[in-house]
Amino acid sequence: MSCSNLFHEQTARQRIASLVDPGSFTEFLPPPARVMSPYLPQLDIPVSFDDGIVIGRAKLGGTPLYLAAQVGQFVGGAVGEVHGAKLTGIIKASARDSIPCVFIAESGGVRLHEGSSGEIAISEAMRAVFECRAKRVPTIAVIGADIGAYGGMGILSTCCDFRIMTEHGRLGISGPIVIEKWMGKQAYDSSNRALVWKTSGGKTKFLLGDADLLADDDAASVGAAIKKLLSKSAPLTIKSVKARQQELEKRLKTFGKTTDPDAIWKVLGIKNVAEASLATATEFTALAKRK
């Protein structure tokens, strides 16, 4: 693993550039097009020329794909009206052209400053994801940034065919600060990074089966994971949803009263939790007893 390009430290455009075939990326509605939020100026909040999301088309190992990457540096990658419309547009283009859609998440969810518009935007993106799935066009969420995919973006990620996570990525709905406020610091200390990542981080999600593949924190590893999934899809059938129902019921029955993530790790095959916490994605994948 080279340490020059840590995926979680990269910006959205760097992530895309380091993932796809050199020179193959075309961005749509790029910053010079100045497609921006109409809401933020009225609240005296700076705008971003891309509204915090990069969308485009590229090739990966020669295979064409559409891409969306959220910009965490801009209001936490949160989804406003324009941001969400760009996302929905690119997913709908995937469905129309039968070209896989890879979505690199880095978002706390709906952009609160834009209120319900952002909420509807995420719901529209969801409909677009399922439009792809109905046509068996692969949709893949990549979650490898510290901000992770939370709120509506967390839910949207779980609607995709597949999820690739790194140990830096987090997947959830309510963030740790919100939960701490709600349950108290004793129940959830949001400053306890180890606990936060054990609760919502990539390794736990991979063990549970919510992340399909675990990648290392570099573009080569993430890219290899995407290649593995690009020609696959997970069609919705009565058989597949019933199997998932059983799996989620079993998970709730087994772990519903657990507050200790280490207990989950142990049941799911991790004998030495401390050692596994430091394991690479490949090592960890070998240790995990999935399902």
Binding site: F28, L29, V35, P38, Y39, Q42, L43, I55, E81, V82, G84, A85, G89, I90, A93, R96, D97, L112, H113, G115, S116, G118, E119, I120, S123, E124, M126, R127, F130, A134, G151, G152, I155, S157, T158, C159, L171, G172, I173, I179, W182, M183, A187, Y188, K198, T199, T204, L208, L236, I238, V241, R244, Q245, L248, E249, L252, G256, K257, T259, I264
Partner: protein, 236 residues
């Protein structure tokens, strides 16, 4: 709750079981069977609730071919809870949505009526996925009330309040949400719910028309155009 269900389904409301704050069952609208599920009393939706609702959708797909599915929403959100998050609440919601999508693909129409609270994640995880989404004018529909938005964004509530007069997106309620296209029609308490529901079922299509509606009604002017620009540029 019983009264409300009778307003929708008349005597056939007896086919709907209310257990805890969740309801599931089958009833009739205009003499035709519908599958019904939903939440009441503003309850929070957790992993178990999502599973129960999903199980009902699966039952409908398997045993009640093409029956329209009526989703009633009165839920304040997902409960912020560490164990729920650890076990992947997002995945439980994604599963419920996947079941609804399978129902859609199998010819079930999905009709939503927001009857009470329809807030944030609790609305996204099933109600907003409807083919046709209506709301009672008394319903609390939206991302969050202005006071809560102010507390998180640190923007004074008075500023948000003032801006909400010209930005329905910031306002909270069924009517502003309809201006954004997120709700097709707002029902008044005086309306005949059974008739309204029958016409909602009849007119529902699987096209997501919310962005077009938001533009037409002036509450969400950019969503449709930006999406169409992306679709045009990617087609070149």
């Amino acid at each position: 709750m019983k009264n409300l269900l009778e307003k929708f389904f008349g005597k056939s409301a007896k086919g709907i079981a209310v257990e805890g704050k969740l309801m599931t069952g089958y009833a009739e609208v205009a003499g035709r069977e519908v599958c019904v599920f939903g939440t009441c009393d503003g309850t929070y939706i957790d992993n178990a609730a999502a599973l129960r609702l999903a199980a009902h959708v699966i039952d409908c797909i398997e045993n009640h071919r093409k029956s329209p599915i009526v989703m009633l929403v009165d839920s304040a959100g997902q409960e912020p809870n560490r164990t729920a998050e650890m076990l992947g609440l997002a995945s439980y919601f994604g599963h419920l949505l996947s079941c609804l999508q399978l129902a859609r693909q199998n010819g079930h129409k999905l009709i939503t009526v927001a009857t009470g609270k329809a807030i944030g994640g609790a609305f996204i995880c099933y109600g907003m996925f409807g083919d046709r989404i209506d709301a009672l004018d008394s319903a609390s529909v939206g991302l969050m009330p202005i006071e809560a938005m102010s507390a998180v964004t640190k923007i004074p509530a008075s500023t948000l309040e003032k801006l909400s007069k010209t930005m329905p997106s910031l306002e909270f309620g069924a009517k502003p949400f309809a201006l954004l296209g997120g709700v097709e029609e707002v029902w008044s308490e005086k309306d005949d719910f059974a008739t309204k529901l029958a016409s909602a079922i009849a007119s529902a299509t699987t096209d997501d028309n919310r962005a077009a509606l938001g533009k037409k009604r002036g509450g969400r002017k950019l969503a449709l155009d930006v999406r169409n620009r992306v679709l045009a540029e990617t087609a070149k």
